[in-house]
Symmetry: C2
Subunit: 304 residues, 2 copies
């Protein structure tokens, strides 16, 4: 099945205690598309300025990524984000945001994009997410991400979006903020009552929790000796997760769990270098090898 | 094999946003002993004041816990701790500590205690930990816990203690504080070079990581809808972990992983009610049922 991702392609400035990187390729749709393309064909819908060069676009080449939806606006600049991490490399503090071309982003899908079976609405205005969804022809699975800003600024629109998707991928703090519930499990159950069948909670260096109506699945993150830049880990996770699901015949509990692992595997590579530098160099064999490492990391036997 | 635990028996005042409990039974040795006694006989060595009643001691009765080492000091009061938790129930802020009888605690082991095959040195002065260890006859496995205070106040003594045990059970922040290394994996490897074969990292609501020379094992905590009081979760974990190991023929990788799960299971019960109220009511069958729930929570298959 093919995947549609609608989100940002950006240039980032990443400041960490271990180094700074400027004009890094970034953006939710970028990380998502590259990760998902390991498993399934991706239709990318995003906008860039004319500062976005062929060299920048090279990240998408030779992969299963259709760039017909990558609109280039002349005389304008690409979305820019600067973020700074502390020693724990946990939460980024935003230092600067320049929306640039993203301010007027109003995606119009073509027929190929509209026919995508799996849709990922990356973190954008929830009204825009719904506008994109309404353009789609009966997708088999729709997932969305969001952020604290939309929970504060557009909670009603976001609630409507939550009611219209199959799968929500958000982080722990967002569950608590949205539900005003201190207990994470109760918060997750509350969100599931809105309509989505699956809720995936990103916990950064602590891994991922998945709630469905019938089951809970939890997996730790892969412990890494070299973590340089957590930027894009969440979108990479979503890409690996939905990419794998798009390659499956059905998204049952068994495949959902495998998908969570593949998402975690891809994300574990992303953080090992700045920007998409590590994703750029890995192969499917590397991904499969780390999947097996995840098994070794987490496996335990029944008691005898 | 029998287990020796040397640590505190205490009265706690627990303040949470959901309620306050006063004169709760607490203390590291208390939680540890009750948890470990599900699997193996325990020799408890601790000290209380004459405010510690038979009713208080009832928690140990009908379990496999030898109380010959529970010294009662006349005219003195039991160790007292008051801690307050915020809405996330994560880290306790200490509001008050009264050492009382604990100030002069200088354990002298009898022959039965000295012959214990497994030794747990709960969080006390590292010099005292070593003093206890020197009284033991060739134990087969020695483990210790510590806290931020000893890392600041007695780092040399603590380093010597680390060099003389098989197993260290500490939390994430303590690894970083002790090693001054931001990356947890590197910090853990650094501590292992001191001599211990196994390092177990407690991560609270995020579960447990275990490092040995050859392997890393990670498990999430059990997601609970009702968390009332995290006090004692770490010592309960240590009790379940070492208790199970004491019941095994050998502590190989397979049994160490099972032990981590049993420790996590016991700890997941502790936090469901104040003090030891939940531990008091559960049976081995409850423990085994939640072990199976942990399997369901974490299991995923190899990719096909």
């Amino acid at each position: 099945m093919s995947i549609l991702v609608v989100g940002s392609v950006a240039f980032d400035r990443i400041i960490t205690p271990f180094g700074t990187a400027d004009r890094c390729l970034g953006g939710s749709a970028t990380y998502f598309a590259v990760a998902a393309s390991f498993f399934a064909p991706v239709n990318l819908v995003a906008v860039v300025g004319d500062d976005f060069t062929d060299e920048d676009a090279a990240i998408f080449k030779g992969r299963n990524i259709n760039l017909d939806g990558l609109q280039k606006v002349k005389g304008a600049r690409t979305f820019f984000w600067a973020g700074e991490y502390g020693f724990d490399l946990n939460v980024a503090k935003t230092r600067e945001t320049q929306l640039n071309v993203f301010a007027d982003f109003k995606p119009r899908l073509n027929d190929v994009q509209r026919a995508s079976e799996v849709v990922f609405l990356a973190n954008i205005d929830p009204d825009l997410q719904m506008d994109v969804l309404h353009q789609c022809k009966k997708p088999r699975m729709v997932a969305l991400d969001t952020m604290n800003y939309w929970i504060s600024a557009k909670k009603d629109a976001l609630t409507r979006a939550f009611q219209n998707v199959d799968l929500i991928v958000i982080n722990e703090a967002e569950v608590r903020q949205f539900t005003q519930e201190a207990n994470l499990v109760k918060g997750c159950r509350q969100i599931l009552t809105l309509g989505a069948k699956t809720l995936v909670i990103k916990r950064g260096e602590y891994g991922v929790l998945m709630f469905t109506r019938d089951a809970v699945f939890a997996v730790p993150a892969y412990p890494l000796e070299n973590v340089f830049d957590p930027t894009g880990a969440g979108d990479t996770f979503a890409g690996g997760f939905l990419g794998y699901l798009a390659s499956c015949r059905q998204a049952d509990d068994r495949e959902l769990r495998r998908a969570i692992i593949f998402g975690s595997v891809l994300a574990s590579f992303t953080v090992e270098k700045f920007s998409l530098d590590r994703l750029r160099e890995i192969t499917l064999a590397d991904v499969q090898e780390r999947y097996r490492a995840f098994r070794a990391l987490t496996h335990f036997e029944d008691y005898s």
